[in-house]
């Protein structure tokens, strides 16, 4: 069970994910609505894991991932992605993302991935 930072530009997705993670026994360290905020929150909250949306205003998920990785090379970041974004996810993984979950989220899959990445 880990302390998780949720990054997504929509409250809807954040709430959805929050409830899934909560149901899996995780605690929500905090939420961020864009890439810049994600980095600031990471510094502040030092979560065990970050779920990172890819398409966001101000700073996209890949840039935010790089920012977080620069702060903490061991950061565990799981990308939230959708079918059709394979290239983006690959880019994210090359930049150090530890996993990915695909929208629409299926709770068991999300929890499995989070559990695996936390264990890594």
């Amino acid at each position: 069970m880990g302390k998780i930072l949720i990054v997504d530009d929509t409250l809807f997705m954040r709430t959805l994910l929050k409830n899934i993670l909560f149901s899996g026994g995780h605690t929500i360290a905090g939420e961020a609505g864009d890439g810049e905020e994600a980095i600031a929150k990471y510094k502040e909250l030092k979560p065990d894991l970050v779920t990172m949306d890819v398409v966001m205003p101000k700073m996209n998920g890949i840039e935010a991932l790089k920012g977080i990785k620069a702060l903490d090379p061991a950061a565990r970041v799981v990308m939230c992605t959708a079918v059709g974004q394979e290239q983006m996810v690959k880019l994210a993984i090359k930049s150090g993302a530890k996993g990915y979950i695909v929208k629409p989220f299926q709770a068991p899959k999300v929890l499995e991935e989070v559990k695996n990445v936390l264990a890594s």
Partner: protein
């Protein structure tokens, strides 16, 4: 998908924002390429797609997906927004809005078939030559600093490290098998050196991966650790086999997982906004109103009984309640942009329909109005804007003939003026044709020709607001929907606002809406007639004067007084409160330019009250806008001066 029922409200609210963003930026794009607008549209489409998919709204997802595909092409620079495409995308966004409406009403968009739109979008993509590149989804990301080394060939080893052959099978239901493979490779790389890999990293990167990954790794982490590293979500099987070779002591590769960032004490940012259901806000507002009423009541009781401590405590409560009331008023204020933002689209549609060229400018959209006022403002404003383009602005040829630029100009602006919000709609069109208006009014039987001939421009323009008046010869698709300016006027009046028109033939018109920023709390003068109390809104009172019964004059059936050389009609409220013998005071009220005076017995004072609308059960109550409950618990009607005058 009942498990998502709880998210419906949130989904609707955010989808509306995204939809608005989409339309706003589409209109920006029509004026010329704008990378930021393209990115914004892409993001909105993408978010809408993701959210609708999550909620299980397949039709909406399908539509958003097709729109997203088109935007990937636009984004990658292969295509640009033409008017045709703009029309198509706006039609899609209309359907999208219907879908959001449907969801809001409890539906799941299944009743709204997006086939037409989706097919048109696909057709358009087809004409551009082929399907959208998936790669377009990646915004020009900088090249990676750490390029993946080509590991298809064996690498030289430092020392004698045990080697393993690993086969990783990705689960068949996995959505992005190649990505899973990459993750597995990444995890294994952290434990050792990969010697061979099949398919190669490059092939996997390009998406050539069938689900089975074979690799050879030199690692001293041990079989179990390698197996764990390669397994994970959606990995069906991992097979690790040690390659038999000479064993030798190995140097353990340090893997530091505990490195934490040097936590610079950066200013933390917090989520500063909170989304609240508007019905909850309304409920809080009702409670605040009740508090305001009871505050007045408590104050009266304390004055009657003269208990000092109680008076003090009530003083404190009073301050808190006032603050709370102000705060609630502020919370309910919404920037006008919420409705203004929709209007460029309307102007565009009407202009295209009428083959006119119009430049539309919005100013002061940040001006705030109470939500209740805002709700009632949408339709009248829409109507006025349609009118301005449809009737006001001339065709480009006509304009040219008149020596004006071909492109018409319409400006909508808003600003706060002391206690009111003023919304102005100015156009540089033909202005109101006064003669045509008069002729029409005569034809419609609204006024006789003789009377009409005596009308000033101002009076003639007033005819526009008469029920049943419309100068458009035909009812068009756009502005004549069987409602006219009379409906606009009535709507504005129901918001306690006024509407004024100024027009200069050949130069254009100016509509001015004067609105109270809020409707809930009103300053009233409490008067007494025949023992009954009444509230009269202070805003409509112009004067309070002494009154003697024997100074009235009878003119026809009416009764009037002469006040400062002005003849003002008397309005007895006998029907409402019964006949009074005293009546020594006149309250002169004014609505627009018409005045009348109401004789009353006594003026009790000024009070800030909450006016509650009368329930529909009571029916038509001309002259009364609502009721208020005073401090002593008495229910008092509040006069509606507009209808009295």
């Amino acid at each position: 998908m009942s498990e998502f029922e709880a998210y419906r409200g949130l989904f609707v609210a955010e989808s509306r924002e995204n939809h608005e963003n989409l339309v706003k930026n589409l209109l920006i794009l029509e004026k010329g390429s704008d990378q930021n607008a393209i990115d914004e549209i892409f993001r909105s489409c993408h978010t809408l797609k993701g959210a609708s998919a999550s909620m299980g709204y397949a039709e909406m997802e399908r539509l958003c997906h097709a729109m997203e595909d088109v935007f990937q092409l636009v984004r990658s620079g292969t295509a640009e927004i033409t008017q045709d495409l703009g029309d198509l995308l706006l039609a899609c966004s209309d359907l999208l809005e219907q879908m959001i409406d449907d969801v809001e009403g409890g539906g799941d968009t299944s009743s709204l078939n997006p086939d037409d739109q989706v097919n048109s979008l696909k057709e358009w993509i087809g004409q551009r030559g082929g399907k959208p590149e998936k790669k377009g989804a990646a915004p020009a990301a900088p090249a990676l600093e750490s390029p993946a080394s080509p590991v298809s060939e064996p690498l030289p080893l430092e020392g004698n490290v045990p080697e393993f052959e690993i086969t990783v099978t990705v689960a068949s239901e996995c959505m992005m098998k190649d990505v899973r493979a990459m993750l597995a490779i990444g995890n294994l790389e952290s434990l050792g050196t990969i010697l061979t890999i099949n398919p190669s990293k490059e092939a996997i990167d390009e998406g050539n991966f069938d689900g089975v990954l074979k690799l050879k790794i030199a690692s001293d982490a041990g079989e179990e650790a390698l197996k764990t590293a390669a397994s994970g979500t959606e990995i069906a099987a991992v097979d690790v086999k040690a390659v038999v070779k000479q064993e030798a002591p190995a140097v353990k590769k340090p893997v530091d997982n505990d490195k934490k960032p040097a936590a610079a004490a950066d200013k933390s940012r917090e989520i500063k906004n909170l989304r609240v259901d508007i019905t909850q806000l309304d409920h809080i507002m009702n409670l605040v109103e009740d508090l305001v009423i009871n505050r007045g009541r408590l104050k009266q009781i304390s004055e009657q009984h003269k208990i000092k401590e109680l008076g003090e405590a009530i003083g404190m409560v009073e301050r808190s309640v006032s603050e709370l009331q102000n705060l609630m008023m502020n919370i309910r204020m919404i920037p006008l942009n919420q409705i203004f933002n929709r209007l460029p689209r309307v102007v565009r549609d009407v202009a295209i329909y009428d083959k006119k060229e119009v430049e539309f400018v919005i100013e002061g959209g940040e001006t705030e109005l109470d939500r209740s006022v805002m709700d009632g403002l949408n339709d009248p404003l829409l109507h006025l804007i349609r009118n301005a383009v449809n009737h006001g602005i001339e065709s480009p040829d006509e304009r040219e003939k008149a020596g004006k630029p071909r492109k018409g100009f319409v400006k909508l602006s808003a600003h706060r003026d002391r206690d009111n919000v003023i919304i102005e709609l100015v156009d540089d069109g033909a202005g109101v044709n006064v003669e045509k208006v008069k002729a029409k009014a005569v034809e419609r039987g609204l006024v006789t020709k003789e009377v009409a001939d005596t009308y000033t421009t101002e009076q003639a323009v007033d005819l526009l607001f008469q029920p049943g008046f419309s100068t458009a010869d035909k009812i068009s698709d756009i502005s004549g929907r069987g409602v006219g300016l009379d409906v606009v006027k009535r709507s504005i009046e129901s918001l306690k606002g006024t509407i004024r028109v100024e027009t200069t033939p050949g130069k254009g018109s100016r509509f001015e809406l004067l609105l109270p920023p809020t409707m809930a709390i009103v300053d009233v003068m409490i008067v007494r007639i025949n023992g009954r109390r009444l509230g009269i809104p202070i805003s409509s009172i112009v004067e309070v004067a002494n009154f003697k019964r024997d100074t009235t004059h009878f003119i026809g059936e009416g009764e009037a007084v002469l006040l400062r050389d002005e003849v003002i009609q008397l309005m007895w409220l006998n029907d409402m409160v019964g006949e009074s013998e005293v009546c020594e005071i006149l309250i002169v009220v004014q609505y627009e330019k018409r005045k009348c005076c109401i004789p009353v017995d006594l003026v009790e004072g000024k009070q800030e009250v909450v006016v509650k609308p009368l329930s529909k059960l009571i029916g038509n109550t001309r002259g009364v806008s609502g009721i208020t409950i005073l401090g002593d618990g008495e229910v008092v009607p509040v006069l509606d001066v507009n209808t009295i005058v």
